[in-house]
């Protein structure tokens, strides 16, 4: 089962799912539940999910596997982004940066 977050909300895809093409949100977490194995988790920043013929493909501009996330760096990025949001409420870049950092931390299994 694949769980992803599209702009319309979370979507869960089981085998035999009808073909879907969705737009993923910036700073979302993608989870692939596998039999006999642990979940595959990835932070996905933007992109698409396409389901067709029992095949799920995720096209992302930037993506990172949870196991590969540098937790310290992500937390650092989050702190910096939050600091600049506090300084300037309308800092869209920083808001986006905070979103991304949160997604990376969640993918790595950290509490945010």
């Amino acid at each position: 089962m694949v769980i992803a977050k599209t702009v319309d909300g979370e979507i869960g895809i089981m085998p035999q799912h009808a073909p879907v093409l969705g737009v993923l949100v910036e700073g979302g977490v993608l989870r692939v539940k596998r039999e006999n194995e642990g979940d595959l988790v990835a932070a996905v920043h933007g992109g698409f999910i396409s389901v067709a013929d029992d095949e799920v493909s995720v096209l992302a501009e930037v993506a990172e596997l949870g196991t590969e996330v540098d937790v310290a760096a992500a937390r650092d990025a989050l702190d910096r982004a939050q600091a600049s949001i506090e300084a300037n409420q309308e800092d869209a870049d920083a808001a986006l940066e905070a979103k991304r950092a949160r997604a990376r931390l969640r993918a790595a299994g950290e509490e945010v």
Binding site: V7, V20, L21, G22, F48, S50, A52, S57, L59, E61
Partner: protein, 300 residues
């Protein structure tokens, strides 16, 4: 030592050092091709999937009119993205691309369009600025190792101009396609507006499934198409980078071969000259000795 001999030695030395340089360039290019090819391979799945997604949307939602898919009624300007390299020493690589771009320009102008070139690579930019051609945009410095962000920057410029009412109405791309180490072809493609290909259904044709869209087909298309253009440009940049190295390797190999051949001929000439000099010296000595002997015989 004779003057001719000295001259030949000097030439051989100079050819030898040139051969060393070209040989080194050849080896560098060979090792770079492998990495360039790997980068090219790595980008293939993404492009394939995104092309499939675009095909899916367009064939499912024929009613969706998006500025990026509809051909304008009276196209006035065409943008041509010309992908060349930053550095030379690559044989006819850049000349081939530029020749093809000129042919496309002629063709487009024949249709009554004015052409705006967008150029990547120092060689192409220099070529255009030397001829005082105005460019819609130019990018240099990454042709050996293009990153996705480079493709994104180019795509943004092109799409912005495409969406602008006074901007370009078509986007063509002239680049080099990497077929194999020995074959690279210059290809001309139109990326926007999308070309709908009516194909005959064969057994291998997979009919795109009927998609549901989240949130709507128009929204999906809106964010999908720029990614598609980026991906197409990225692929062209990567292919061009691999082709550039392959062309450079070939050019440097033939330069090294030429230098070796020249060295062989010059060495032969040098040996001949040396032999001639020795022969002359011996005959001078013998002649001298004979003259001395004759003079001594005459005294007695």
């Amino acid at each position: 030592m004779g003057a001719q001999l000295r001259l030949l030695r000097r030439r051989i030395n100079s050819v030898k050092s040139t051969a060393k340089i070209t040989r080194a360039q050849e080896l560098i290019a060979s090792s770079r091709i492998v990495r360039a090819q790997q980068r090219m391979q790595a980008a293939i799945p993404y492009e394939r999937e995104i092309t499939r997604a675009v095909t899916g949307v367009v064939s499912n939602a024929a009613s969706v009119d998006h500025p990026l898919t509809v051909a304008k009624e009276n196209p006035a300007k065409a943008g041509v993205l010309i992908v060349t390299s930053d550095s030379g020493f690559a044989g006819g690589f850049n000349a081939n691309v530029l020749r093809e771009a000129e042919a496309l320009r002629g063709h487009l102008e024949g249709r009554g369009l004015s052409v705006v070139p967008f150029v990547t690579g120092r060689k192409g930019v220099a070529w255009h600025s030397f001829r005082n051609r105005e460019m819609g945009g130019s990018w240099v410095g990454f042709t050996r190792k293009p990153a996705y962000s480079d493709a994104k920057e180019i795509a943004n410029t092109l799409i912005e101009s495409f969406k602008d009412d006074n901007g370009i109405d078509e986007i063509h791309i002239v680049s080099t396609e990497f077929v194999s180490m020995l074959t690279q072809n210059v290809v001309v493609k139109r990326i926007l507006p999308l070309e709908v290909e009516e194909t005959e259904a064969t057994e291998s044709t997979v009919i795109p499934p009927y998609f549901e869209f989240e949130p709507t087909a128009a929204d999906v298309l809106e964010s999908l198409l720029p990614r598609y253009v980026e991906s197409r440009i990225f692929t062209a940049l990567l292919q061009s980078a691999a082709s550039e190295e392959a062309a450079r390797r070939r050019a440097m190999k033939s330069a090294t071969d030429n230098a070796n051949e020249l060295m062989r001929v010059l060495t032969q000439q040098m040996n001949q000259a040396r032999q001639a000099e020795i022969t002359q010296e011996i005959s001078e000595i013998v002649g001298g000795a004979n003259a001395l002997a004759d003079a001594a015989a005459g005294k007695e």
